[in-house]
């Protein structure tokens, strides 16, 4: 019963976020600030992770394709793996950890210290100011960070491949994109907007509804990471199914 109540309240929360995000007035300044905090500050994490993932994927791809004498397909295979699934999902999971934990802890601390009540006392719409701006920033940041992860991953694959075969940079990227279609890049990149919405919404819901003092802040932070990750993966399954429905392989 409690689970159903939580799901229902979370659904109402998400619906309110969608409605409030399109209704003026818009909090541009706070949205940009959140975009900086959530997006720009995540670039090092995403770039480093993408580079490392690219190297690992290249090594695994080479080990698999070399058995069939198909080393020439390594750039294309790596690109397809990154663009279609590995890049978006890895970026989403990484950001659910960093952003989800941050939003949950920040809003939870504001709740237990009655800063949200103070904002309400000054006639500021705390939901629009604190939640909608973070959700919009996440929805905007996730595709951009996913693109960054895709390219840093390909670059890592290039570094790993050129250290073995000496493949030129331009030839590697041209071969990488010979197997990628618009149907591979666009849906997979845009689905991360859903990931951003899920991460920010779940974390904001858990943060705003924090109680029990500082202990509740920590619990909200942890629950934000766990819940957003689970929902992200579940949503990914659904989204991939929807993408395949519109763009069959």
């Amino acid at each position: 019963m409690h689970l159903l109540v939580v799901v229902g309240e979370a659904a109402r929360f998400a619906g309110r976020v969608i409605v409030e995000s399109v209704r003026p007035p818009y909090e541009f300044r706070e949205t940009l600030r959140q975009l900086f905090e959530l997006g720009c500050r995540s670039v090092p994490l995403i770039a480093a992770s993408g580079f490392a993932v690219g190297i690992v994927l290249s090594m695994h791809t080479r080990a698999s394709l070399a058995r069939f004498g198909a080393e020439a397909l390594i750039p294309a295979g790596l690109a397809i793996a990154l663009v279609r699934e590995t890049g978006p999902l890895t970026a989403g999971l990484l950001l659910s950890g960093r952003i989800g934990a941050g939003i949950g802890a920040e809003l939870g601390a504001m709740k237990v210290t009655e800063q949200i009540d103070a904002l309400e006392a000054t006639a500021v719409d705390s939901f629009r100011y604190l939640v909608v701006t973070r959700v919009i920033a996440c929805v905007i940041a996730l595709p951009l960070l996913t693109s960054l992860m895709n390219f840093t991953g390909m670059f890592g694959g290039y570094v790993a491949e050129t250290s073995i075969t000496g493949t030129p940079f331009q030839a590697y990227f041209r071969q990488a994109f010979t197997a990628i279609e618009f149907s591979d890049l666009i849906p997979a990149t845009l689905k991360t907007m859903v990931f951003g919405f899920i991460i920010a919404s779940v974390a904001s819901y858990l943060g705003i509804n924090t109680n029990s003092g500082t202990e509740g802040v920590g619990r909200a932070s942890t629950q934000s990471v766990v819940a957003s990750s689970i929902l992200l993966i579940a949503a990914n399954v659904l989204l991939v199914r929807i993408i395949f429905f519109f763009y069959p392989v």
Partner: protein, 464 residues
């Protein structure tokens, strides 16, 4: 929020959009979205691996993609494939270009390869349809390779059989040729030796003839008196000419035979030429031998040379009377007659119809006699003398002929004697040297005329 943070946010958004846009551009560039394009069509019986977006190359250069694959309206029709190509490759694609479905390696993607056309054909225009070549599937290759392997194996087996047959036939031919060559060589050697011996004999004869003629010319003997007879002189001249002609022919024949041998063993000789030459030579030799035999026979019967030939053992029993024979004309000065008497009671039996036949005991007796006579040279003439007593009834001469013929036939069959050296002399009942002592004999006498130089210790007369 200060300006620095705003700039960083702007940079973050721009970089993210730029990366995403770069990906879109690379994909679009590959799909020729940013260059001028045209469309052409092709048809295929099967489209293994083809799908919308499949790459299309022109002479190996990436030139476009597949836009649409239309199913055939009925099974006998072909798939219709619509392709979009770069405009800058249109001049390479001619009306005789072909489109084939190929695979990039074993596990690679399928793609359409368009061949470059010929200069004589016009360039294609948008919407044209070029000939499509169906893809070759791996299973088809394996099946084709299996069929090819079976065919090649069968061909090898057939070829092996043919070669074995040819080698066997060649071996047989070589063996036959070797046999023919050996036989021809032996015959040729025999022929040459015989020709040389005959030539030597004839030369000796001519030398003797020349001596005789000289004696006659010198007026020695009674024959000299006959020199005034022109007829005899002309006959003598003719005989001499015939003898010289025979010798000349024989020499020419010998030369030709030698030439035939050289041609046969020479590098340019061929078996056909040799065979033909040999046939011609043999024919000529036969002709010359026939001429020589006729000439010799003429000489034998000529009264001038009869004695000469008789001295050398040449006799014609048809011309010898029984009296002359019994007087020892065949013995002469250099031969001795070895005569064995065999009684008719042992040799012959008379059938109920009155016909004589040789008995088994008679054959064994003849064998016993010949066991002693075969010690002497086989070229010694053997005369079977037939005798018949008047007391036996009938005509003694005819009975003696029959007896001599029976024994002679047995000798020719049993001892392989030469027919020219084995003859008969029917003497009737007259046997002056008969062991009975009354001048008569019933049976036969085997008489071997042996040269004195070959005669050993042997009784002149014996009875069996």
């Amino acid at each position: 929020m200060n300006r620095m943070r705003s700039a960083l946010v702007g940079a973050f958004v721009l970089v993210g959009l730029l990366l995403f846009g770069t990906g879109l551009f690379l994909i679009g560039d590959r799909r020729l979205l940013f260059v001028e394009q045209f469309e052409i069509n092709s048809t295929f019986g099967k489209v293994t691996g083809l799908e919308v977006g499949t790459a299309v190359t022109v002479a190996g250069l990436a030139a476009g993609e597949v836009l649409e694959i239309t199913l055939p309206s009925r099974p006998s029709d072909r798939f219709h494939v619509r392709m979009r190509l770069r405009e800058d490759v249109r001049h390479l694609i001619r009306a005789d270009s072909t489109a084939g479905v190929q695979t990039d390696g074993i596990v690679g993607n399928a793609f359409i390869q368009i061949s470059v056309g010929t200069d004589a054909s016009p360039p294609v225009t948008a919407g044209d349809t070029i000939t499509g070549i169906d893809p070759i599937e791996f299973a088809d290759l394996i099946q084709e390779g299996r069929d090819t392997f079976r065919t090649v194996s069968q061909e090898i087996i057939d070829l092996q059989d043919d070669v074995s047959g040819a080698v066997a036939a060649l071996t047989e031919t070589v063996e036959t040729a070797n046999g023919v060559i050996e036989n021809v060589g032996q015959d040729l050697e025999t022929l040459t030796a015989t020709g040389s011996r005959i030539a030597t004999d004839v030369e000796g004869t001519i030398a003797d003839l020349r001596v005789t003629v000289n004696d006659v010319g010198n007026g020695q003997g009674s024959i000299g008196r006959l020199l005034t007879d022109d007829t005899l002189y002309e006959r003598l001249t003719g005989i001499g000419s015939e003898a010289q002609l025979a010798v000349r022919n024989l020499r020419e024949t010998t030369d030709r035979a030698r030439a035939a041998v050289e041609g046969f063993t020479g590098p340019n000789g061929t078996s056909q030429q040799i065979s033909q030459t040999l046939r011609n030579t043999l024919a000529e030799v036969q002709e010359v031998t026939s001429d020589l035999a006729e000439g010799t026979e003429a000489l034998k019967r000529n009264f001038l040379f009869r004695g000469f030939f008789r001295q050398r053992g040449f006799f014609d029993l048809d011309t010898i009377s029984t009296q002359a024979y019994q007087a020892g004309i065949l013995e002469g000065d250099d031969r001795t007659a070895l005569r064995v008497w065999v009684d008719a009671g042992v040799l012959f039996a008379v059938d109920p119809d009155g016909v004589q036949r040789l008995t088994e005991e008679g054959r064994r007796r003849i064998d016993s006699v010949m066991a002693d006579l075969v010690r002497y040279p086989r070229d010694s003439p053997l005369i079977v003398e037939g005798y018949a007593d008047a007391s036996e009834g009938g005509a003694p001469y005819l009975r003696s002929v029959d007896r001599a013929q029976l024994v002679r036939g047995y000798l020719l069959q049993r001892f392989r004697r030469q027919a020219t050296l084995t003859d008969i002399m029917a003497l009737g009942e007259s046997a002056p040297d008969s062991p009975r002592g009354d001048g008569r004999w019933s049976g036969v006498a085997l008489t071997l005329f042996v040269r004195n130089d070959a005669l050993g210790a042997f009784a002149n007369t014996s009875t069996r």
